[in-house]
Subunit: 511 residues, 4 copies
């Protein structure tokens, strides 16, 4: 059953989570103004699945159930699935800034792989449990929050050595019917308006820290769960042209002795597979982030072009403006290309789904993480200083100043001053406000810090292949048949998936 945005909002009313926003208890997320932009953003992923022109990107057929599900809860099986998911994420994020729900996809795919591997190593039955859960999530078309980043405490100590064990979520008790978990996850995107949380470990734990290697599903209103969140976007702010409509809440989630029945537990002490889960999720998620930030890039490119126009500047004639616009495009399409390549060179996991290529997805995430700042710079460059100097929106209704300001704040005569101010405020909202700062920091640190990406690139790069190439060149003169052959597979050789297929909509245009 594919819900609509309205259905999704309504469905939240069935939950009674304990939520605080800015120190205030919030009754029900569905009707809380400070969270509305977040719910709107997630809602896009529901509505777009109903649009015929987007259905190929936004829906897919789940192999294990045979049912058509929302792309955001699908388990991808081909490189085409990955490419469609990437395009789908870009699509929903260019309309919402960041639609958040792709985290659900990334976590489901990671757990799909990790449960399979765990079962094979330990003879457990996590994978079947998870499939049952997955089908239910797909059937009910849920949105799941990723509860992964622990509070961490003293970074120089292991979880088990912490003075306060609650800085990491862990299994406090194992009961016949399930487990009891306890601890705090510090950064959970969209926490207050999720249906459930997928609790996952945030790193590989040592054997003695087995209780910290826990993965399970917990409804947002399970007894013992408390959510302390920030407002989503800039609700109610007149100057927030965009983020008063669409935004993202971030929350800390406290698990205070929360009981989880066995059928919702997908890992409970298998430390090595816990690390595998972390890495799988991270790779899927970095791939998704590329699509998400490309969508944000689309917004900036469009807004920059509109602002330039409203200022009366023609990029054809003003070379430095055109250069800046092209620099902006090159950044966005440059990291997006890494997402595409990561889809094409994906690998087939033994569990049956596909993993984006780790090198390309980490390079893409690394690029967007550092270049989001350049994107802001370029948007400011083409827009001019007005974006921080123009009088606030309250002034628009001040009878004593409105007329004289409007008379002088226009640019081109054929574009009303109001329109120029509106675009300037959009740029300000996207690149100057605290929402803009959120985009920066989340791009830099979300899904792992740049250092984490660099380590993954290093770990996954087929260095042996490159070294042997050069050794061969040094050994011999012109290459010949007798050269030493690389025994180490390169990145490409590990792939075995089918290849991406562009959506028919894309194809038909040229036929």
């Amino acid at each position: 059953m594919l819900m609509t945005a309205v259905d999704y909002r309504d469905s939240l009313r069935a939950y009674k989570p304990r939520v605080f926003v800015n120190g205030r208890a919030v009754g029900n997320a569905a009707d809380e103004a400070s969270l509305a932009p977040g719910i709107n953003a997630v809602g896009i992923t529901y509505d777009f699945a109903h649009r015929p022109e987007h259905s190929l990107l936004m829906t897919a057929r789940q192999a294990s159930s045979g049912k058509t599900v929302n792309r955001m809860v699908h388990i991808g099986e081909t490189s085409t699935d990955l490419l469609y998911k990437l395009e789908a994420v870009r699509l929903v994020c260019k309309h919402s800034g960041c639609a958040q729900r792709y985290l659900t996809h990334d976590a489901l795919n990671g757990i799909f792989q990790a449960t399979k591997r765990t079962d094979e190593a330990h003879g457990t039955d996590y994978h079947q449990r998870f499939l049952n859960y997955l089908h239910d999530v797909q059937e009910r078309d849920l949105t799941l929050g990723v509860a992964m980043t622990d509070a961490k405490g003293d970074r120089s100590k292991r979880p088990g050595e912490q003075a306060n064990a609650d800085v990491y979520v862990h299994i406090k008790e194992r009961r016949p019917d399930g487990i009891v978990i306890r601890g705090t996850k510090a950064i959970v995107t969209g926490a207050p308006y999720m249906h459930e949380f997928l609790v996952m470990p945030c790193r590989t734990h040592t054997r003695e820290d087995g209780d910290f290697a826990v993965c399970c599903a917990v409804p947002v209103d399970a007894p013992g769960v408390t959510i302390v969140a920030r407002p989503a976007g800039r609700p109610g702010e007149a100057a927030a042209k965009f983020s008063s409509k669409y935004g993202q809440s971030t929350g800390a989630v406290i698990f205070d002795d929360v009981f989880v029945p066995h059928e919702r537990v997908f890992l409970a002490g298998e430390t090595e597979e816990g690390g595998f889960l972390t890495t799988c999720y991270a790779t899927h998620h970095r791939h998704s982030c590329i699509g998400a930030r490309a969508g944000f890039g689309d917004l900036l490119i469009g807004a920059g072009a509109l602002m330039t126009e409203a200022n009366g500047l023609d990029p054809e004639r003003h070379g430095h403006i055109r250069e800046a616009m092209v620099d902006l495009i090159a950044i966005v399409e440059g990291f997006y290309a890494c997402g595409v390549a990561s889809s094409v060179y994906c690998t087939k996991d033994p569990a049956g789904n596909v993993m984006p290529d780790a090198v390309f997805s980490n390079v893409g995430k690394l690029l967007l993480a550092t270049k989001i700042y350049d994107m802001h710079r370029l948007a400011h460059y083409v827009s001019g200083g007005l974006v921080v100097a123009l009088p606030g929106p309250d002034e628009d209704h001040n009878p004593e100043t409105r007329a004289s300001l409007t008379a002088v704040l226009g640019g081109r005569p054929d574009i009303p001053a109001e329109q120029r101010l509106e675009v300037a405020r959009l740029i300000e909202d996207l690149t100057v406000s605290h929402q803009a700062g959120w985009y920066s920091v989340i791009s830099l640190h979300g899904g792992g810090s740049p250092e984490a990406m660099k380590r993954e690139i290093w770990r996954n790069y087929p260095m042996v292949e490159k070294v042997e190439l050069v050794e061969n060149l040094l050994d011999r003169g012109v290459l010949d048949e007798g050269r030493r052959v690389s025994k180490q597979p390169g990145r490409c050789c590990a792939t075995g998936c089918e290849v991406p297929e562009l959506p028919p909509a894309f194809k038909s245009a040229a036929e």
Copy 2:
């Protein structure tokens, strides 16, 4: 008479400007909460002039009057003056974020030069008028706003061709006793809490646009003046660790047929000298901006180091954190060095004061304009994702969550969680909030866009010297005495000023 910060605030009560902030009429700037951070920031420049340890940087002896005045209203006569001013601006800005009053200095020095040149070209007496005004400003220790950036309207047309002439401030009428000016200046820093405005042209006008080449001094409450401003900083916001105390307002200033008596008019139609004034001011101002943003850099460096510490990370052991801190330092000291070099290679103006070297000051401003974004990136990098994820300050007083959050949000055991959160919020305030966005855009566009700087660098660089160097090398073998000698002076050769002297305080340490 050197005022204190308290004196300065009191002195504002004598003015009755017509000010609107966010659509609301503000009675008196001195007592307006939304402007308090701006007044605090300017106040630093007053208080520091009274501190013995800063007096050498913060005060100077005005040659034409023989009186000791605040550095911010001084006319510099030596390279030492320029170096001290640069250090002084860095000093006050690292305590206030941006103390704004250096604009007064930059404008006074620019007008000092332009009036002298105008008198010599046109036989006018602007310079003496200006000296009288200057001495009065110094005596009363005023802060003057720079009303330079016109609203501009359609950028493809000259001022005289605009449908609405009011998009540029211009002389509407010339009377026996003075002039009447009219039009809107769109971006005036600190507008609501200035004593007076120095109206200046924002570019060289053509001869037929002579009425737009006007420079004069206007009290903020002169009849016909309306100020439409934004709040300074983030007054009253609990999360604003810094910008609730110090901030900057920006305002549009509407001149609706404002009469200015002759003794306050310093240019009235001399278009060529108007362009010279614009350039002089810009060069002084870009030099000052270097000091200002270095002060902001000091804040970021210190905050980054504190945050790293609170996270429990030791830069000695974590190379990537140390690298990022050094990158941040290298950016800040790299552009600051341009300010120092610009002081050392200053030129003596025929009017008697000194001009910072144009190449170095423009290179320095260009660097800070584009690298402010990297500064934010690096501050985020060393700080981690907590800066946008931590619960808001209202949560600190929520009895239902406070204890559990505090228990898990700490880092190192010897640093209380509160302290870590406080630093995280400071970083957020400085680099994520709309105040942070303001710093970015103002760094990029304030004092002219990067494109303007590049043009100035190109215009001022001694290219002939470099070309002749290479021509000589190509003409002959090993250099000899008979080579062609450059007839074109290089940058350095134009200098004739005394050289900078470090403050005795700096000297004494090593003696």
Copy 3:
């Protein structure tokens, strides 16, 4: 018939071109030592087509003839073809530095498209002529040089306005049986060891310059052709570990009244289609350049890793070395990803072949053009100063110094000093020698300057789509069904090709 490298070299003996290298007349390219590295490099493309493990990448079935041909002379029909060609170019270039023959591919594909379009616009029969020629080229497995970049003369004048018309190649005379061309092409890669030249216009000409819009095929030894070339690589230099084996010659080609029969003429005055040809070729070629420089990147990555090892540095422990290696990888895979994406989002030309997506291919080429310098920097960074300080190879045989130098110039005890020096010289050869400089400049300017790429990106980007996205967001609140629909197709929507398929070799590994 697929030739081998030996066959190729032998085949050159059948030609008697008039070639000068460094002022000296060269009898036959096949036996000229100064050109041997160039012939070796092209030879790789022949030999690799015979290797079973590379045959899928290196060969393809030509649709119009049904024959299996070398990938470098194939007309691509699917996105898979483009991806394979990209991989094939990377493959041959990582073994040869730059195998050059992909220019043949790029020109053949561009002419394939342009002749079809010309016939449709003008009723000519160029396309069939070209097909006949193509099949012959494929059958004989030739390598064709691209004679496109004219000498250009005074850049402020059109070709027809030049004092000396010969600065552009043009039709001097039209005869019943063919045309006579005249003029100079200034930069022809591999000129002395090509079988034939494909003469093409280097830009869109105006209607009155119709005689400059000429495309035809000319054997290298056609009467009137003179080639003035540079040596290929660094033949005979002992220090040139790599470029004494593999290199590239560049030549100026003078056409002194060269007769070309009609069946070899593919454009003769159709100026608009001449511009189309230039653009088509450029897009194919930029796509190929991405693969070529990624291959060069493979060499640098491998050599850097070897050098690091020989220096006794472990990237796992020395974070700054690992960071630099990852930066190098991220650059190479970052622009390579653009080549992959350009393949995936290719467009089907009405002529039946596929065009790489113009935005992605230009972004990729732009990235490699500017980042080749960073690649050199990073290779130097990880290698240390020894690469320019170690004694030259002649010292290796000096009995008076050899022993003592060898004793002290080693690094790790388990790696002989000779081996360390050998790697150091390889790095020097690749990144410090004039061969290295050639890679830089050719990367920057080959296939068009960065400015040309930026203009192409600007021209091809679906800006309307982005602008409408933002306009819609500003018009309405939360997106709904009634929003304005974009009438302008985006980049993707223009595609209609099949999708890329990874080579079976890549697939099999995981099955």
Copy 4:
């Protein structure tokens, strides 16, 4: 006695060093063609000291002897000395590419400080010995090579742990009349045409490695010294417009049981002071490098402007060319400014001379080290692809091609083709040849790797001051008198030197 370049060359004939270049024994450096460009470059520092217009920069009065000496062998006592030295280095390097002799200055100043400190710590008399030596060097106007970088062997082991102790120069024997040293210095700039070598340790040694902490002066032809060198520049290469005239040799110097009498020994086992010497030298040297590479930048800027002109491109009209030229200028003047600031903020050493500020000099060196690659890129960008495509100089005399090539390779009609080719070859020589590669690597690694600079910046930055600034801001509201006062001096506070004075020649212009 100030020698001329001719005197200098003649003076080398008095030495009989054992030198090998490219495996060949070289009789006398003065008459060896392969070293002539190096001798020419050093010669500039001699000739320019005799030119009245340069005498203020190129000479100075040595305080301890009262004599006027060449700036390159002077001990600086004021910040003016440092600024003059910086300007002097830029001057001689913009005429010679790199005049090398500033290393003599840097080593003399470092030893001056280290001997003083050693005497105070250990009661030795090294300083007086050194003064005697210094005065002799000044009197004879010598050029001294810096023998610092050891061969190093296995980088994971200390010198004393190496299998072969000769990978570091060390004291093999202590005799009543002196010491015997042994080992290899791997990179000695200008080795074959120095008068003497100053042997210095390349790092701080541990106490048990005391024999490696040795500093002494050794004539190039002392018994037991062997020099294995590379040619200087590109002697005899017709295409080398510049580096056939001026160049730099690098040599390995083998000390095979070389006896050094006590009066030439300046450190012999004092490990801590050996480390101090290394740091002092490095700081002086990085300051000098800034001037040197700025001189190289002058060459590039001039050559780029000439090439642009010869291509017929006007930077006023072609914005992208102007942007690139300004980017090049901004890089060069940006790092040069760090040299200026480092002079201004110098510190007075207890020995009586001045040290450039360590933060600014390291930031400047770090900038030039990484941006030399961008300088090459920009020079290529403005020059176009001709620089690697034009036929070699031998072609200029080929009667069969000369006329036709000359006819088509010109650009602007008023600039002869020969002139355009000459400039293109100069650019090629400076940025594409192996000489160009040498400039890159030497800029990156010479005077220490970027990592070494970053560590020095980190070690010297007044971080405590910044941290306390922020702590104060967090503690209190608006700053007031009661705030905590920093007890830790900042960078500036350590200075006690006089301030720089611009040369009178610079001053006179404006008077």
